[in-house]
């Protein structure tokens, strides 16, 4: 059994603090979000490198763009739900269209806020940001990915959105794994089907893999941490050689990982079965993040059953 690590948000904060100590041009902007962003220690240790705008997400994004125009390496940190909806126009115009060196951190993304309800969920962020030109979107899965993406963000020099959840995550990747924004990671290789997960749903895919293996079903597991630019080459290679593809995401079934895969399958004449797991178009059920993901077929056990059905088609 793999070790359970820390919440990715904590890793984000630790990594960013360490990078910011080495580079005084790194500036964090928060919207009354330093607590939820685990940035209280950052604020204490580096008070000159944090700007607090209060509960004003549009202003957070605009101010971040201005700081970047002034030569700073900016991390704008706010709950993913508000950041990618209320400030969408600022993201589009002031960050992406104006090509500002801003990394937007969507904290407590997906349905991390569980029972706080849909006002606090971001199951729209992949879909909305995918349609914005010049925007990169990353959803790290485990502590390793959560840390590596921040190290790369410091010198990425382009508009970037990273979403983080707040639950402790299982360590998936062994030492020596390479992480690069835009390049997926092959976690396991098997010939029967390919399961592609993004962000923290990778853990659920991994647990399903273990059960499938006991059932003598061998699947590949891919961590598709970057939603845009999409690692088309790896996807096409695996989809051509798999009997079935199963995608898993903590996001609406519309406009995210699954639809991206469906698009590639359709446009490349690939003969395979595809199943998209995510949040369906309905008034969402209330519950903890874990219970809601389970309810929408993303428990390891349901992933196993759905995988078997896909292979029997």
């Amino acid at each position: 059994m793999n070790k359970i690590g820390k919440p990715n948000l904590e890793i984000f904060s630790e990594t960013l603090t360490s990078e910011a100590k080495k580079n005084k041009d790194i500036i964090v902007v928060t919207s009354d979000s330093r607590g939820s962003g685990k940035l209280v220690p950052f604020g204490r240790e580096l008070p000159d490198q944090i700007i607090e705008v209060g509960i004003a997400e549009q202003n957070l994004v605009g101010v971040s763009a201005g700081l970047a125009a002034g030569g700073k390496i900016v991390f704008g940190v706010s709950p993913a739900s508000f950041l990618t909806a209320r400030s969408l126009e600022q993201i589009k115009n002031d960050v992406a269209y104006s090509d500002c060196n801003v990394t937007l951190i969507g904290i407590s993304a997906g349905i991390s806020y569980g029972q706080l309800g849909s006002t606090h969920h971001s199951i729209h962020d992949f879909a909305t940001l995918r349609t914005i030109n010049n925007m990169t979107i990353v959803a790290p899965a485990d502590n390793f990915e959560a840390s590596e993406v921040i190290k790369q963000a410091v010198s990425y020099n382009k508009p970037l959105y990273i979403r983080y959840g707040k639950k402790p995550m299982m360590d998936i990747h062994p030492p020596g794994t390479k992480f690069k924004i835009g390049k997926s990671i092959l976690v396991k290789k098997g010939e029967d089907l390919t399961i592609i997960a993004t962000g923290e749903t990778l853990q659920r895919a991994y647990l399903a893999y273990e059960i499938l293996k006991e059932n003598n079903i061998h699947c590949s597991i891919i961590s598709m941490h970057t939603i845009k630019p999409f690692d088309k080459d790896t996807f096409l290679e695996f989809s051509k050689n798999s009997k079935a593809i199963l995608t898993i995401e903590e996001h609406s079934i519309f406009g995210g990982l699954g639809e991206c895969c469906a698009n590639l399958i359709a446009q490349n004449n690939i003969d395979t079965n595809l199943k998209i797991l995510g949040i369906p178009d309905e008034y969402m059920i209330n519950g903890s993040q874990s219970d809601v993901l389970d309810y929408y077929n993303m428990s390891p056990e349901r992933i196993v059953e759905i995988s078997k059905d896909l292979l029997n088609k």
Partner: protein, 275 residues
């Protein structure tokens, strides 16, 4: 640049604005004419910005939040040597970077604007970067009066005053009109001075179409130390051309051939009086 030359420039700029709008068949005539004297004084007598220092951060900055009045900005940047008149003549043509709102693809432009209510936050961020780097350069931003209905403007104000950004100069092009009608009929925004003052700004009212008044105000900034400044520049929409002034329908009306001819004659006559 002396006052007389600035006044002549303002007339020449007005002719260019009308020329490029007439020739390209689109543009925001009224608003470009109302803010042109402000841009003239800023670029020719106040700000430290030139094609030579533009790639450096050791200079002043200008964000035109009311992006639709871009023809005024294009005209001034062209005259300052950021690009040629030939480049500018591609305005609104296929594959030209000279479009109906400012973009960073055009030399001399800092930031893409067009959707209203964005520029002030960006200017606040730039001004903060100057404070962090202990630089004395200023950040200027031009807002429309109708734009003040955008809530994001006031979000930005809270940050400007919190961080005591006395290097931030906000200029309001107070021409009293917006696309639907008079600003005070569409959505009353007065008292503008008291609103900004309550948000922690120091304000001053001036005539935004009077070179001498603008020089007086813009040469003595900030208005007060440790406070961001707001200059409420009272202007006339369509300023400088009798039949365009204060007419709602000239918000983005393109002059006909006859109107263009009459406007140019009127401005040429005024210019001749300086010779």
């Amino acid at each position: 640049m002396n006052e007389k030359n600035l006044k002549k420039k303002s007339l020449e700029y007005r002719k260019t604005i009308l020329e490029i709008i007439f020739q390209s068949g689109a543009g925001h005539t009224g608003g470009s004419l109302s803010c042109i004297d402000i841009l003239n004084v800023l670029y020719n007598s106040v700000m430290d910005i030139s094609p030579k220092n533009f790639s450096s951060l050791d200079r002043d900055h200008f964000i035109q939040s009311k992006g639709h009045s871009v023809e005024a900005l294009y005209t001034v940047l062209c005259d300052c040597g950021f690009y040629s008149k030939k480049d500018l003549s591609t305005l609104n043509q296929f594959n030209s970077h000279f479009i109906g709102h400012p973009t960073i693809k055009v030399p001399g432009i800092e930031h893409n604007t067009g959707a209203l209510g964005h520029g002030l936050s960006v200017a606040v961020g730039l001004a903060l970067s100057k404070k962090i780097d202990k630089k004395t350069n200023k950040v200027f931003t031009l807002l429309g009066d109708g734009e003040l209905s955008e809530g994001s403007v006031w979000e930005a104000c809270t940050t400007a005053s919190k961080y005591k950004l006395d290097n931030l100069i906000v200029i309001i092009d107070r021409n009293d009109l917006q696309i639907t009608g008079k600003t005070e009929d569409v959505n009353p925004i007065e008292p503008i001075d008291k609103k900004f003052e309550s948000f922690g700004f120091e304000t001053i009212l001036t005539n935004g179409n009077n070179i001498s008044d603008l020089l007086n105000v813009l040469k003595k900034l900030p208005i007060k130390r440790s406070k961001p400044s707001v200059i409420i520049a009272k202007t006339t929409k369509g300023s400088g051309v009798s039949f365009i002034e204060n007419q709602i329908n000239w918000h983005h009306k393109v002059p006909s051939e006859d109107e263009y001819g009459r406007a140019i004659s009127e401005l040429s006559e005024k210019l001749n009086s300086y010779e």
